[in-house]
Amino acid sequence: MKKSNILMIVGSLLLLGLFIFPLWNITLEAPQYPIPLGMDIYINKFADTHEFDIKNINLMNHYVGMQFIPKTIPEFKIFPITIGIMVAFGVLIGFKMNYKWFLGWFILMSVLGIVGMYDFYLWEYDYGHTLDPNAIMKFTNPDGSIMGFQPPLFGSKDILNFTAHSYPMMGAWLMFIGMMLTFLSFFVGKKEAK
């Protein structure tokens, strides 16, 4: 088997890491939380970084009228199926097809990734901005608009007494490395074809 095919197969298989490791993590730091509160986002669930963290995030957030973090969202059904199909597809073309297909797979996966991030942003926006009108505490921005509590999509941000951190986790890194391998497989395959 050619090197490019191996790269394509291995690259696709690395996406399976998403079924084991979290994709993303949001951590909230505050003086009263020497051990910060955290939520790990998998492709199929929200999970506590430390036991009961999500319950405690919800308890904190209810003061400013934020919704509870839902037990599940529709994406948790769609993401695993999508990733599963892409892995199978990637392995299949790794065995049967040439480098042009590899690039095609990479582009498709990139588009799906961007769609996924955008979807995540929309959820975050809604989570941070749809507030209970009877909220215990109401905050406004300097311009008079209602203050939102949306965590950052990527990076760190101060929200009232909390500093929120939002960063990719092992699952995302494996996906990133996997995609880079498939991208590389295109060039390697092209070279081999010459």
Partner: protein, 663 residues
């Protein structure tokens, strides 16, 4: 004239003598300056947010409790309620904890706690449990060092003044309880003056279950009617033996300060408990009727149960020959201490000007050679010279207790001369002495009662403080004093006040306990019969004159928080569950006019208090522990109607019956 000059001279001499003998203030001041010069402040400074290196569990004495301090800072972290009611925590007031204070005499709200001792594995303190004895109504308690809560209290029958307790053997096989006051055994109506020969002293060996820590009295040795004052286990080579100091071998029953101080020598009783345990295991001993309570806390149901035990296994010394011996020891020894090697058994002869040091090796030889000097009630008395390693003469006045380092040194407290003296056990030579302020009782080196003392610090526990702190009226604090003993000379580092009277203490390196401590109780594991897991399950139920409120608390409201249908003459049970699952988020609850106490409820725990409303009206209850920014809003109302009212029970939260809630 001549007489006048003579007496003036005498007066001057006497004054000089008194000044030089007393604890003069100038000396004290120079001492504290010396401490600063020696960087004592740095040695005890634990920066904000940093942790101490050691836990010290210091007996709360007549408070009945056990206090937890950090060393070297001397900061008080927690007072664990053990033998006395504690309205701050609801201990002994809540329905769940009341059984912990049940005894064969009924509910006893107070106790006199004395000698904490930490469980051991292979001769080292292991941080599983700490045991402590109650002197007045004889009991032994076991406290979990995961939750820092009292988990078990067992009463000791046939005993009184439970003082030579609660010391553990080197693998925590047994925790031992000995009686200070001998009494009729079993108790009976008889003339006090017939005491001699008719009273007995019970030495009780409580077996410890290694998994659960549960104690039960394996056997009681029915000893002669002396006073068994203190005890310590053998260790290393002497593991399997236990040593008890005795006084009042005169068996006096009145004006004891004189009549119990006539014999020049009393005894240390040496007990081969392994031999007796073997004897008992093979069916030895006799089960006799007894009444004593065994109170056990259950962390799953959040409830204590009190069981009345009906019998105890008694062993007569004459039935196990070769297991019990008396070692003659200088006058009315108080502390009975065993060095880390297990070779030296030290009697602190509180009324003698000497320390008696016995040798375990010599003791075994003497027993083999039958080097006896008669017997007392059939128990052989070993010849003094045959067992004695040596004496430390004139080390100070009123020796009480001794602890050890790993370098062959002993540290003894002297009550009357108010000092700690460091001496070498083998050489019998005094190395250093240091004044303490004032009248020191016990001392503690972390891991002191073990083969492996952690010998950087020494804590001296003083009975009186006089002028050492800002005055607070006639009643002033008792105190502990921390010494650095890592060098040749003892260095006084710190004074810190203690609760109650600090008798013994037990110390241990923090890393043996801190990482394993419980942070919250898990709601899912809560099996309290009146516990609920969500607001949807909260309710109020009438059962005749009893009203049971199944209530929850979470930041920052109660559910339900409006209750109607309670009547004058009802007994209202507030069964309150803290739904929080976050570290250090307790809530409290108190009800106007309740004749119990507030409750302080940890996350995931259910606790109950009762309220018997006497007056018609609308009565508020509220959270007593500042739990959040909305703490002041954490309150509710109960409507109390006349006893003949026909208002039905109803309960709401925000106008509705409490419903499904995601929390």
């Amino acid at each position: 004239m001549n007489t006048y000059i003579k007496s003036l001279f005498l007066f001057v001499i006497t004054t000089f003598f008194l000044i030089s003998c007393g604890p003069p203030t100038s000396k004290k001041n120079s001492n504290s300056k010396g401490a600063i010069a020696g960087n004592a402040a740095e040695k005890v400074y634990v920066a904000p947010g940093d942790h101490d290196s050691h836990y010290a569990f210091i007996s709360g004495g007549f408070s009945g409790q056990l206090a937890v301090y950090g060393l070297p800072s001397g900061r008080l972290f927690r007072v664990i309620p053990v033998f006395s009611q504690d309205p701050e925590k609801g201990y002994g007031y809540s329905e769940e904890t009341k059984p912990m204070l049940m005894t064969s005499h009924g509910f006893v709200p107070w106790g006199d706690s004395h000698h904490p001792d930490i469980s051991q594995t292979q001769g080292s303190v292991d941080g599983r449990w700490v045991f402590i004895n109650e002197n007045n109504t004889p009991r032994i308690a076991r406290i979990s060092l995961k939750t820092f809560e009292t988990e078990e209290i067992i009463e000791i029958p046939n005993s009184a003044g439970n003082h030579s307790s609660s010391f553990v053997t080197e693998n925590s096989e047994y925790v031992v309880a000995g009686t200070r006051f001998s009494v009729p055994f079993p108790q009976r109506d008889m003339s006090i003056k017939d005491m001699k020969g008719n009273f007995s002293g019970a030495l009780s060996f409580l077996k410890i279950n290694q998994e659960t820590g549960r104690m039960n009295i394996d056997f009681q040795i029915k000893m002669p009617g002396f006073n068994y004052d203190l005890s310590h286990p053998g260790r290393g080579k002497s593991h399997g033996w236990f040593f008890f100091s005795t006084y009042n071998t005169e068996e006096a029953n009145s004006l004891m300060e004189v009549n119990a101080s006539q014999n020049d020598k009393d005894f240390i009783a040496a007990i081969n408990w392994k031999k007796i345990a073997e004897y008992v295991k093979n069916g030895g001993g006799k089960k006799v009727p007894a009444r004593y309570t065994h109170n056990v806390w259950n962390d799953d149901t959040h409830n204590a149960t009190s069981t009345m035990e009906k019998e105890v296994l008694v062993v007569e010394p004459k039935d196990v020959p070769g297991a019990i011996f008396f070692l003659p020891t200088a006058k009315s020894p108080h502390g009975c201490d065993v060095d880390p090697t297990g070779e030296y058994i030290i009697g602190n002869g509180k009324l003698a000007a000497q320390m008696t040091i016995h040798s375990f090796t010599k003791m075994l030889k003497a027993i083999e050679d039958k080097a006896f000097d008669g017997d007392a009630y059939g128990i052989p008395i070993i010849k003094f010279d045959a067992v004695n390693y040596g004496t430390l003469d004139q080390p100070g006045l009123g020796p009480l207790h001794t602890e050890f380092d790993t370098r062959g040194n002993a540290y003894t407290t002297f009550f009357i001369s108010s000092e700690v003296v460091k001496w070498n056990v083998k050489d019998l030579k005094v190395i250093d002495r240091h004044k303490v302020y004032y009248s020191v009782g016990h001392l503690m080196i972390p891991g002191g009662n073990s083969r492996t003392p952690d010998d950087k610090y020494l804590v001296a526990m003083n009975k009186i403080t006089k002028d050492r702190y800002l005055p607070t009226g006639p009643e002033v604090c008792q105190s502990a004093q921390l010494f650095d003993i890592s060098g040749e000379k003892m260095e006084l580092l710190l004074d810190f006040p203690t609760i109650g009277e600090p008798h013994y203490a037990a110390g241990i390196a923090a890393d043996k306990i801190a990482p394993k401590t419980t942070k919250i109780y898990k709601l899912e594991d809560n099996k309290h019969p009146y516990g609920v897991k969500s607001e949807a399950e909260t309710k109020v139920v009438r059962k005749g004159k009893e009203v049971h409120i199944y209530m929850t608390m979470i930041r920052s409201h109660f559910s339900p928080d409006n209750i109607e249908g309670v009547k004058v003459g009802d007994k209202v049970f507030f069964h309150v569950t803290n739904l929080e699952q976050d570290y250090d988020v307790p809530h409290g609850i108190s009800m106007i006019g309740a004749q119990t106490s507030e409750l302080l409820i940890m996350p995931g725990r259910t606790t109950t208090f009762t309220w018997e409303p006497k007056n018609v009206g609308v009565w508020p209850f509220y959270c007593t522990d500042f739990c959040s920014a909305l703490h002041q809003e954490m309150q509710g109302y109960v409507r109390v109607s006349p006893s003949n009212s026909n208002i039905k029970i109803s309960y709401t939260l925000d106008g509705d019956i409490p419903g499904e809630d995601d929390l």
